[in-house]
């Protein structure tokens, strides 16, 4: 009977703890977010810290960001990792992703590719595109896993389909060069275009070059100038050079027309 009583009290404790966690999970990170958006970082930290202490994953994750960037607190990469790890253990994908990247960079924690891969796989299982892409890079370079070009491209393909622009860019490059996949210039241009539409400067420059050369697309100098100009406007040095060369070969009225459409460009929203 005493045994049974203990079990009941233990169960009550567990239920109590769980409901506390539940309350914490429902607590609102929005006021801190609003302070953060205003650039009042000290206030954001003050508002997120109690939520983080009580186990709220997004508050833990955000507090990790503040330590990582040294905003509202002194910069402390070790503290950042501690908070990301707490949120990652709760299965929170953005925290898993950042923790894995700290492990790769050796920021605030000893570099550990193998552990990074284990975390990336966990986020990838949730369909978290950025982690899927990073995992592809680990296979591509053989960091923490044996090099596996086929597996790398498969992961890029998955992340690209999930909408990640860096993965789309890398996949396009693989198709262009026939690395890990059969060479396919049309498919390369299509993936460059999807990343370019999301505002990826390198992809815009590459797409501009595809149009200039007529590789995988119908040759079109006006479109070449359009995409090259968008990349140049983002400060990409090689696009600035390429744009100069293109401008010299085109009529002034075409250059004017392109300049006008360039200023109207709005990137499509990335999914993640």
């Amino acid at each position: 009977m005493r045994m049974f009583g203990r079990l009941i009290s233990l169960a009550t404790t567990i239920v109590g703890a769980a409901s506390l966690l539940g309350a914490a999970a429902m607590a609102d990170v929005t006021p801190g977010w609003e302070a953060y958006q205003r650039g009042d970082f000290a206030k954001a930290v003050e508002l997120w810290r109690p939520l983080a202490d009580s186990g709220d994953s997004s508050a833990q994750y955000n507090l990790g960001i503040m330590y990582d960037q040294g905003r509202g607190v002194g910069q402390d990469a070790t503290e950042a990792v501690r908070w990301w790890r707490a949120a990652a253990e709760g299965g929170y994908a953005p925290a898993i992703h950042n923790l894995a990247n700290s492990l790769i960079a050796g920021d605030g924690v000893a570099q550990d590719y193998a552990e990074a891969v284990r975390w990336l796989e966990r986020a990838a299982d949730q369909g978290f595109a950025r982690s899927v892409y990073t995992l592809g890079k680990m296979y591509s370079y053989g960091l923490g896993v044996a090099t596996d070009g086929g597996k790398a491209v498969a992961l890029f393909e998955q992340a690209a389909s999930l909408g990640n622009p860096r993965a789309q860019y890398n996949l396009a490059r693989s198709y262009r060069d026939g690395e890990g996949v059969p060479k396919d210039l049309e498919r390369a241009a299509q993936w460059y275009e999807r990343a370019a539409q999301q505002g990826d400067a390198a992809a815009q420059a590459a797409l501009g070059q595809r149009y200039a050369l007529g590789e995988g697309v119908r040759q079109d100098q006006e479109k070449a100038l359009y995409w090259t100009s968008l990349a140049a406007a983002q400060g990409l040095a090689r696009a600035v050079e390429a744009r100069k060369a293109l401008v010299q070969t085109l009529e002034a009225r075409i250059v004017d027309r392109v300049d006008r459409s360039v200023s109207g460009f709005r990137p499509t929203l990335p999914t993640q």
Partner: protein
């Protein structure tokens, strides 16, 4: 009367030896050119600072969108390729062309992220140009003070070079420490441990980290 004209007149009216006159003329031209370049370098930094602060403190759009705009301005006004090569030192020459391309693209992210986080985003931030001095043959160092409420002021010295495409920032010293030299020694030690691909992965990892979120768990 502009100094150069004054010297020209002096040539015909004085009894100075021609070689001295040539030197004097050359010096006056160099000084005139330098004074002009320095003034513009200060204006360049002052305007850039103003532009950056206006963007970061605008109340429209998310902080991420404002930071994205800020990063674009930094990318346009830093000589990213020059700094990237400098920071890599002799490893640049032994890197493969593909490594060089990957590195430069990631380095740009790294550079603008580093600067935007160290220097920007605070409410009520202000940048004031203190003074300037010539550095080497081609560069000007513009000293600034960045004030932010609730924090100590930051002293940032911007090394600016006049290039074909206008002024470009090639280094920033924050509190007397050169960011380029700091990054150079950091990168050298990463390459020593993990090679060039290791460095590329470190940069990729840093640029891949996500920022704060409004989402609830």
């Amino acid at each position: 009367m502009p100094p150069s004209q004054w010297f020209e007149m002096h040539v015909y009216t004085s009894y100075l030896r021609p070689s001295l006159i040539v030197i004097a003329l050359a010096v006056s031209l160099v000084l005139a050119g330098q004074a002009k370049a320095q003034t513009n370098a200060s204006q360049f930094i002052g305007q850039l600072g103003q532009q950056a602060i206006t963007i970061l403190q605008s109340t429209s759009g998310s902080l991420e969108q404002r930071e994205q705009n800020f990063r674009q301005i930094l990318a346009q006004n830093f000589d990213v390729a020059f700094i990237g090569r400098f920071v890599l030192g002799r490893s640049w020459r032994v890197a493969t062309p593909e490594q060089q391309t990957d590195y430069l693209a990631l380095f740009e992210d790294f550079l603008v992220l580093t600067y935007s986080r160290r220097l920007g985003g605070y409410t009520g931030e202000r940048l004031a140009v203190v003074d300037e001095r010539a550095a080497g043959d081609r560069d000007t160092v513009v000293r600034t003070q960045i004030d932010r409420p609730g924090g100590p002021p930051i002293n940032a010295d911007w090394r600016v070079r006049a290039t074909e495409t206008g002024f470009k920032i090639i280094d920033v010293e924050v509190a007397g420490v050169s960011m380029a030299l700091t990054q150079r020694s950091e990168f050298a030690s990463v390459i020593g441990r993990n090679g060039m691909n290791g460095l590329i992965e470190v940069l990729r990892a840093r640029s891949s980290k996500l920022s704060a979120t409004a989402a609830r768990s």
